[in-house]
Subunit: 220 residues, 2 copies
DNA sequence: CGAGTTCTTGACAGTGATCAAGCGACGTGG
DNA sequence: CCACGTCGCTTGATCACTGTCAAGAACTCG
């Protein structure tokens, strides 16, 4: 959004993303109960966010990659309500939320941008609710793969090949399935020639078949 | 938030919520694909929001009551991505989003308020993901009842009695269950003396038992 | 009062969970 | 460089929860 800003404006916006933080693979960027101070823009690396119930069950609420924002959960109560864990070595921009708000007041395009990011997250979660509430294991995994490869492609990676950064268990948690079911479903897709799987490596041979599984609508 | 505002400020804030709209039971406040222009604050009545998949499956994404805000889904793309349906005759304040943004820039407390509302929705949906991904039918329904009665109580209604505004099917859709399962689970709670159910009327006899079902953690 | 909707309940089926065992990949240290 | 241990993945057998199908009852509203 480099339109209509003078040098001073740009400097101040630049400052917002000046602070960097590195997180090692397996490390926590923030966790449940931490005081909320900042949003984080992922520069490199890959994260999962998850919540845990009192009796220890874990629910992965999302996987985030470069360019995506995490930490929005903390705004409402000034405390984070989920954990953000790096699935590979990562670097983030630390954006103190008071600064985000201050600059938002000055720059309507930034304000709108922030609102869109939050709205996008709400809409994404609506989609996950549909997935978890209405879809069967195969549909869930097909949707998951299509979403992942689409986001990677938007970042310049292959449209048909990817390396999963998460375990079967984490995929299962996200999709409301057990790891065995995830594994079996991968195997099934593989047997049907839709994908090729070798551990974390996935090659999508027939994306149309995946789309059809995800969305088995009327065929005229 | 009536602190530090002069008369002119208050008039402008008042203007934001001046426009009213009535929606009859069963009526749509907005639906998927509608252009997004406004957020809506519910004054009276009860809504459900839902998304539909291409092949016609419906997922209820939330139930909203007086004081709650709907329409946040539309911000990201300028089009609504869900339907908002009145489950009883309702009245809402129409808040044009451009005005919300303009006033947010002027009044930091309003800005913060808007951010919290969006964050709260994100956190709520995280909780639903946990529900849908990890919990069994009884846990889901217990959580649902506790949440509903808590929100009603915050509005001055009974802590132990409520009238459901939605069908078993809508509850089921929200909780990722079929209506028969919802009905059976109600019956089971009733047989166990935890609640008394008669159609839409529910009396919570033993809230502690519900909490224990919802959260069956270690008991020392 | 009657038609249609909503709810309850039963019998049965199916999807995915659970339990269990073995395999394969990876990393560390000898 | 290889051995070993750990962790993650796959696959099989069985089970349980919830879904599906069906019928009838209860309630609502015109």
């Amino acid at each position: 959004m480099p339109v209509g800003f003078n040098t001073d404006d740009l400097m101040r916006l630049d400052e917002l993303v000046a602070t960097r933080k590195k997180v090692k693979q397996g490390g926590l960027l923030f966790s449940e109960g931490d005081a909320f101070t900042s949003l984080y823009a992922i520069r490199t690396g890959f994260f999962k966010t998850c919540v845990t119930s009192e009796d220890g069950r874990e629910q992965v609420t999302g996987f985030q990659m470069a360019g995506e924002i995490i930490g929005l959960d903390g705004i409402v109560s000034d405390f984070h309500s989920c954990n953000a864990i790096a699935l590979e070595d990562a670097e983030v921009c630390v954006m103190p939320f008071v600064n985000v708000e201050e600059l938002s007041r000055e720059f309507p395009v930034l304000q709108r941008h922030v609102h869109k990011i939050m709205s996008r997250e709400i809409v994404r979660e609506n989609g996950i609710m549909m997935l978890l509430g209405n879809m069967r294991a195969e549909e869930r995994l097909a949707a998951f793969l299509l979403n992942l490869v689409q986001r990677l492609h938007a970042r310049g990676f292959s449209q048909s090949e990817l390396i999963l950064r998460m375990t079967r268990e984490e995929i299962g948690s996200y999709l409301g399935l057990k790891l065995e079911t995830v594994s079996r479903t991968f195997s099934k897709f593989s047997e049907e020639g839709i994908i090729e799987v070798k551990q974390r490596y996935v090659h999508i041979i027939d994306p149309e078949a995946l789309k059809k599984i995800f969305n088995p609508q009327v065929c005229y």
